[in-house]
C-alpha cells in the first residue's frame, strides 16, 4: 500500500513553503507556460540559455505542494546544466515517476524525493508539469503546454 509519507517528504514541504528561484528573470531568452487542466495548476518557466547551457532559470505560478516542489527542485538542479543534460534528466525523471521497479538514475540526485509520486497515479501530472514546461521552453514553444 502506498504511504502518504512516501509522497510528502520533508524536502517537498520545504520546497513548497520556500520555493527556490521563484519569480521572473530580468531578461530571459526562453519562456514557456504550463497548465494542468485537471486541477488548474499554472506555471511559467523563465530561462537564460547561452551556448547550450542553462545559465539561469526561475519559475512562477500556483500549484499544489507536489507541483510547486517539483518546479523548485527542477530550477535548482538544472542551473548550469547543458540542454542535452536537461533533456536526459527529463527522461530519467519521467521514468522514475511513471515506471515501477526502476532504480532512479543517480544523475537525478535530490529529485529522488519525488519518486513516491509513482504510487499516486492521480498526482504524476503534478510532478511532471514543470518538466513538460521545460521541454516547451527549450524548444521555445510559445503556446501553453498542457499535461493533458
Amino acid at each position: 500500500m502506498s504511504d502518504l509519507s512516501d509522497l510528502y517528504q520533508e524536502v517537498i514541504f520545504d520546497h513548497n513553503k520556500r520555493p527556490r528561484n521563484f519569480g521572473k528573470l530580468f531578461e530571459p531568452n526562453r519562456l514557456a507556460k504550463g497548465f494542468n487542466p485537471l486541477c488548474g495548476d499554472r506555471i511559467t518557466l523563465y530561462l537564460v540559455v547561452e551556448n547550450g547551457v542553462l545559465k539561469d532559470i526561475s519559475f512562477e505560478g500556483q500549484g499544489c505542494a507536489i507541483s510547486t516542489a517539483s518546479a523548485s527542485l527542477l530550477t535548482e538542479i538544472l542551473k548550469g546544466k547543458t540542454e542535452a543534460e536537461a533533456d536526459a534528466m527529463f527522461k530519467d525523471f519521467h521514468a522514475m515517476v511513471t515506471t515501477d521497479n526502476v532504480e532512479p538514475s543517480e544523475a537525478l540526485g535530490k529529485l529522488e524525493v519525488l519518486s513516491g509520486v509513482r504510487e499516486f497515479p492521480a498526482r504524476v501530472k503534478c510532478a511532471t508539469l514543470a518538466w513538460h514546461t521545460l521541454q516547451a521552453a527549450l524548444k521555445n514553444r510559445q503556446d501553453s503546454v498542457s499535461t493533458e
Partner: protein, 418 residues
C-alpha cells in the same frame, strides 16, 4: 458543549439512514484499508440495489431492441424502457411523455438544444445569457453556437458569496436576448438560483429558458410546468441511476419546431432517397438504439427516490450541510466557498495555503472521497479569485459521523502541512 452537539438533527424522524445504507453495496468498500466515506455525490452518486437489479434484470430477462417489436421480448423491453420515460415525466411534472427525451446526460441535453434550437434560431447580434457560475457544459455549447451564428454570449454576474445578481441579470435582458441558459444549482458552490423569477423575466423579453438541472435533480422537487421553463436538463447518474442516461425536457411546440439532432434509425417515419420524413416526438431526437437498461435503471432510481420522498432526502442532506458548516467554524483556516442563502448540499472550501489537490490526496488516505480542482467551472473560480477548491457533497446515504470523519481528515491535512 462542542459544536458537534450544538445543533440537533432536523432530518425527518422516519428517515433511517442506517437502513438506507444497506441498499448501497459500494458503501461497504474499503479504501486504503479504511471504510469508504463517499462525499463526491455532486460528481456522481452511488447506486442502490433496486437500480443495479433493474439493469441486471433487463439483461437477464428482457434484452431485446425496442420499438421494433413483432416479438414479445421486444415489446417487453419497449414497455420497460417507456416505463422509465413515464417515471421521468412524473419526476419533473411534464405534461406529456412526448416532451421527455432520453439523452446520455445533461451535457448532451444542452448540446442538443444549442445545436437544434440555438444554431437554427440565432442570428448575428442575438444574445444568450448564462451566469458566471455555470459548469463548462452550460457555457461551451453556447460558445460553439455563437461561433456559428454570430450571436453573443453575455454573462450574468454573481456576488462574492455565489448568489446570482438578479438586478444585473434583469439589466442584461433586452430585445436581442433569445436564450437564457442557467444552472438551477451551481455545481462548484451549491447556490440555488430562483429559476421561476429568472424565467418570468426572460419570457417578458421573449427569450426562452434552458435550465441545467444536473445538481438540482437530486435535491429539489422539480415542476417544469410551475417553473414554466422551456428546456430542463438532468442526468440519471446524479440521482442514483446509471451513468450514460439523462433527460431533456422541452416544451412540445419548441421541440416540434426544431430539426432532429442526429439522423439514423428510430428517428424516422419513412426513408427514401427522394424524401425522408421524421418520426414524432420524442423519437425524433432519439436516433439509434438507446441505453435501454439505463432508461429502466433511471425509472428504478426515481421509484427509489419517491419512496423516500425528495423533501425528506433534501432535509437530511441539508442537516449534513448545516452540521459541516458549523464544524468548520472551529477551523479558522477553512474558508467556505459559496455562501448563498439558498444552497444545496455542496460544501466547497479552501484551507489556508494548502492546495486542494493535497487535501484530496490526504483525505483519500483516510478513505474519504471528495472532489478537488476547478469542478469544470473555471470561470467561477476566476471570478472568486481562486484556482481550485476542495468540495464535499452529500447524498441521501451520508451521515453525521461521515461529516465528523471529514473534519478529522481536514485536521490531519493541517497537521501534515503544519
Amino acid at each position: 458543549m462542542t459544536a458537534a452537539t450544538a445543533i440537533k438533527s432536523q432530518a425527518s424522524a422516519g428517515y433511517d439512514v442506517a437502513r438506507l445504507r444497506e441498499d448501497f453495496p459500494i458503501l461497504k468498500e474499503l479504501i486504503h484499508d479504511k471504510p469508504l466515506v463517499y462525499l463526491d455525490n455532486a460528481a456522481t452518486s452511488q447506486k442502490p440495489w433496486p437500480v443495479i437489479n433493474a439493469e441486471r434484470d433487463y439483461y437477464t430477462h428482457l434484452n431485446a431492441n425496442i420499438h421494433r417489436g413483432v416479438h414479445d421480448l421486444s415489446q417487453r423491453a419497449t414497455d420497460a424502457f417507456e416505463g422509465g420515460r413515464s417515471k421521468a415525466r412524473q419526476f419533473i411534472n411534464a405534461r406529456k411523455n412526448e416532451e421527455v427525451i432520453f439523452v446520455r446526460g445533461t451535457t448532451e441535453a444542452i448540446n442538443l438544444v444549442a445545436m437544434c434550437y440555438g444554431r437554427t434560431k440565432l442570428n448575428a447580434g442575438d444574445e444568450i445569457i448564462v451566469s458566471e457560475m455555470e459548469h463548462h457544459s452550460n457555457i461551451v455549447p453556447w460558445q460553439m453556437a455563437c461561433e456559428v451564428t454570430g450571436a453573443v454570449l453575455r454573462v450574468a454576474p454573481i456576488s462574492d458569496g455565489g448568489e446570482l445578481d438578479m438586478a444585473a441579470y434583469g439589466r442584461l435582458l433586452n430585445e436581442r436576448t433569445k436564450i437564457v441558459a442557467m444552472t438551477h444549482v451551481a455545481n462548484a458552490l451549491g447556490s440555488i438560483t430562483p429559476i421561476k423569477a429568472i424565467t418570468q423575466l426572460a419570457h417578458a423579453c421573449g427569450a426562452i429558458v434552458l435550465v441545467d438541472g444536473a445538481q438540482a435533480a437530486p435535491h429539489i422537487p422539480i415542476d417544469v410546468q410551475d417553473l414554466d421553463v422551456d428546456f430542463y436538463a438532468f442526468s440519471g447518474h446524479k440521482i442514483y441511476a446509471p451513468t450514460g442516461i439523462g433527460i431533456l425536457y422541452g416544451k412540445e411546440a419548441l421541440l416540434d419546431a426544431m430539426p432532429p439532432y442526429q439522423g439514423g434509425g428510430d428517428m424516422i417515419r419513412s426513408v427514401s432517397f427522394k424524401k425522408t420524413t421524421y418520426n414524432a416526438l420524442p423519437y425524433k431526437f432519439e436516433a439509434g438504439t438507446p441505453f435501454i437498461a439505463g432508461g429502466i435503471g433511471l425509472g428504478a432510481a426515481i421509484d427509489y427516490i419517491n419512496e423516500l420522498g425528495l423533501d425528506n432526502i433534501a432535509s437530511h442532506e441539508h442537516d449534513l450541510l448545516d452540521y459541516a458548516t458549523l464544524l468548520s467554524r472551529d477551523i479558522p483556516d477553512l474558508k467556505i466557498i459559496g455562501t448563498a442563502r439558498e444552497k444545496a448540499s455542496v460544501f466547497s472550501f479552501t484551507l489556508g495555503r494548502v492546495h486542494p489537490h493535497d487535501i484530496g490526496t490526504i483525505l483519500d488516505h483516510e478513505g474519504i472521497a471528495i472532489r478537488t480542482g476547478h469542478h469544470c467551472a473555471m470561470p467561477v473560480m476566476e471570478r472568486l479569485g481562486i484556482q481550485a477548491t476542495a468540495r464535499a457533497s452529500f447524498g441521501l446515504y451520508n451521515t453525521r459521523s461521515e461529516v465528523d470523519a471529514l473534519f478529522a481528515g481536514i485536521r490531519k491535512v493541517q497537521k501534515v502541512f503544519a
